[in-house]
């Protein structure tokens, strides 16, 4: 979206007055005898980007799937757009899910469909006219700088390109909430930076509330310490010591939420696990 002319200030005041987009209240879930998440409570406010940190296997992806009802909690309640979804029937969840965009760990592109049909999946289901679909897909692919992949199939794309197509698919309907499941997992540093730049770009242009799962501290810190400069069409660092006030952190340790706060609070935390993770 290089055409974007409006520069969005990188450090606006957090929108705390409006009701939260996501509310987790004492959520627990387990598979078989093994508890995965225990007593997890947090919120995602409008305009807020929350980065969920934690080592592999602590339940980060499970938590993300609970947000849009792909998994159901054993205990506790989850509010999505103000609606309790813990026990909501699947059919009633579909309209809510259409309002969220989700980027899966490996992209989860439909390998039998072209990039165009993948990105336009929701639009095709809604029987949007072909001309409109093509124009919106071109726009979404332009945003992720993959215009040339329109007619290609996922099998001919690299891992990073697949991830960017998945981001385009999540963005195309301009969702009210974005969920990123390890969007840079398994990618080389250069490609990871490209993906993070896209996320920063989306955050600073649309201010869509989002929840991002990662175990890569570098990506998390980049998100917090950079802004998207629309005039230069690239991500630039914030002035020394400044961070994006709307980007905050959560940390999981063995299924328990042990940290909820800003980057400064994270760096100042005396929790042993947090300290070990940061070092």
């Amino acid at each position: 979206m290089t055409e974007t002319s409006a520069f969005v200030p990188a450090d606006p005041a957090p929108a705390t007055d409006a009701s939260p987009v996501v509310v987790f209240d004492h959520v627990c879930i387990g598979f078989g005898e093994t508890p995965v998440l225990e007593d997890v409570s947090f919120t995602v406010a409008p305009g807020e980007t929350r980065i969920l940190l934690g080592p592999a296997g602590v339940g980060k992806s499970v938590l993300l799937k609970l947000v849009n009802g792909l998994l159901r909690p054993d205990e506790g309640s989850i509010l999505l757009f103000g609606e309790e979804i813990s026990h909501m029937p699947e059919q009633r969840l579909f309209p809510l899910r259409k309002r969220t965009g989700m980027v899966f760990q490996e992209g989860a592109l439909f390998d039998s469909l072209s990039v165009r049909d993948n990105v336009a999946y929701q639009l095709i289901q809604e029987l949007v006219p072909d001309e409109e679909i093509d124009s919106r897909v071109h726009e979404a692919l332009h945003f992720v700088e993959l215009d040339e992949t329109f007619s290609l199939f996922p099998s001919s794309l690299s891992g990073g390109m697949r991830r960017r197509v998945a981001i385009a698919r999540a963005f195309i309907q301009q969702p009210e909430l974005l969920l990123y499941d390890s969007p840079t997992g398994g990618l080389d540093p250069v490609t990871s930076t490209t993906i993070i730049e896209l996320i920063v770009k989306e955050r600073d242009i649309s201010r869509t509330p989002s929840l991002l799962v990662t175990h890569r501290l570098q990506d998390a810190f980049t998100l917090c310490t950079h802004r998207f400069d629309a005039t230069e069409n690239r991500m630039v660092p914030l002035p020394e010591g400044e961070t994006d006030a709307n980007t905050t952190f959560l940390m999981l340790e063995e299924g328990r939420l042990i940290f909820d706060g800003s980057l400064r609070e994270l760096l100042a935390s005396q929790n042993t696990f947090v300290r070990e993770f940061l070092e």
């Binding site: 792909l70 699947e90 579909f94 490996e106 592109l109 439909f110």
Partner: protein
């Protein structure tokens, strides 16, 4: 220890049957509630129907031919080779046509359904579909089940026709018997209940093979190894259940339409 294992296996079996029943019921009920994905029906009908045509024709012709060969050898001992046509047509239409078609198509399509859906599960494509607001049961499972039912019906008719034709070829060119007599016997002794019996069975078999293929595909876990496991389970279960259910349907239909 052994008791524990038996108990665990029994519980797992009951749970699987319960899950399958609920799954099959939901897939069936989806046909009567929108949205219905008609293009998916056509795509699946093409894959299942047209795609399986060659193996069904081949199996039908061979089975009919073998039936004619075997029956002629036995019937000649009683001087009754004239009823070869009747024997082949009744056996094909009432029993072998539906069962063979069901087993052949389940080998080809229950496995492909399980592996295709299983791959989609392990690569999170099913979750992605749900996250995009589309119900995979409606989009993927229901069209496969109803296409399989419709296509198995027609494939069975093809298998019956090919079986009778194959029997005719053997009768004429290998057994050197009278062709018109074979076809006259094949036709004249057919009753409507025989045809009805042969055409009711594929409706059940189509439902069984597709619902089992989709069921095992959708509950795949454990990566690519899990996909392989799901495929094997789908083919074995579908084939065994088709043969098992055939016994009960035959018994029921024979009690409804007793032989004269």
């Amino acid at each position: 220890m052994a008791i524990d294992r038996i108990e665990r296996t029994a519980k797992q079996l009951v749970l699987t049957v319960q899950d399958y029943s609920w799954f099959a019921f939901r897939a069936f009920m989806n046909l009567w509630r929108p949205p219905i994905y008609w293009p998916e029906f056509l795509v699946q009908a093409d894959i299942i129907g047209v795609g399986s045509l060659s193996i069904v024709i081949l199996a039908g012709v061979s089975t009919g031919g073998v039936l004619a060969l075997q029956s002629a050898a036995t019937l000649s001992a009683f001087g009754a080779t004239a009823i070869t046509g009747q024997f082949v047509s009744l056996t094909m239409i009432r029993e072998l046509g539906p069962v063979l078609t069901g087993v052949m198509v389940s080998g080809r399509n229950a496995s492909s359904m399980a592996s295709e859906l299983g791959s989609m599960v392990v690569t999170e494509q099913i979750d992605a579909m749900r996250a995009l607001g589309v119900d995979p049961m409606r989009k993927l499972v229901t069209p496969r089940i109803f296409s399989a039912i419709a296509m198995l019906f027609f494939l069975t008719i093809v298998a019956d026709a090919c079986g009778i034709a194959g029997g005719g070829l053997v009768t004429i060119f290998m057994n050197h018997q009278d062709g018109p007599q074979y076809f006259a016997m094949a036709w004249e002794h057919l009753r409507y209940p025989d045809i009805l019996q042969g055409l009711i069975k594929p409706l059940f078999f189509g439902y069984i093979l597709a619902s089992i293929g989709c069921f095992y595909g959708m509950r795949t876990s454990g990566g690519t190894q899990g996909v392989g496991r799901a495929t094997i389970q789908a083919v074995v279960s579908a084939s065994v259940i088709i043969i098992f259910v055939d016994f009960f349907i035959t018994q029921l239909l024979l009690s409804l339409f007793p032989a004269p």
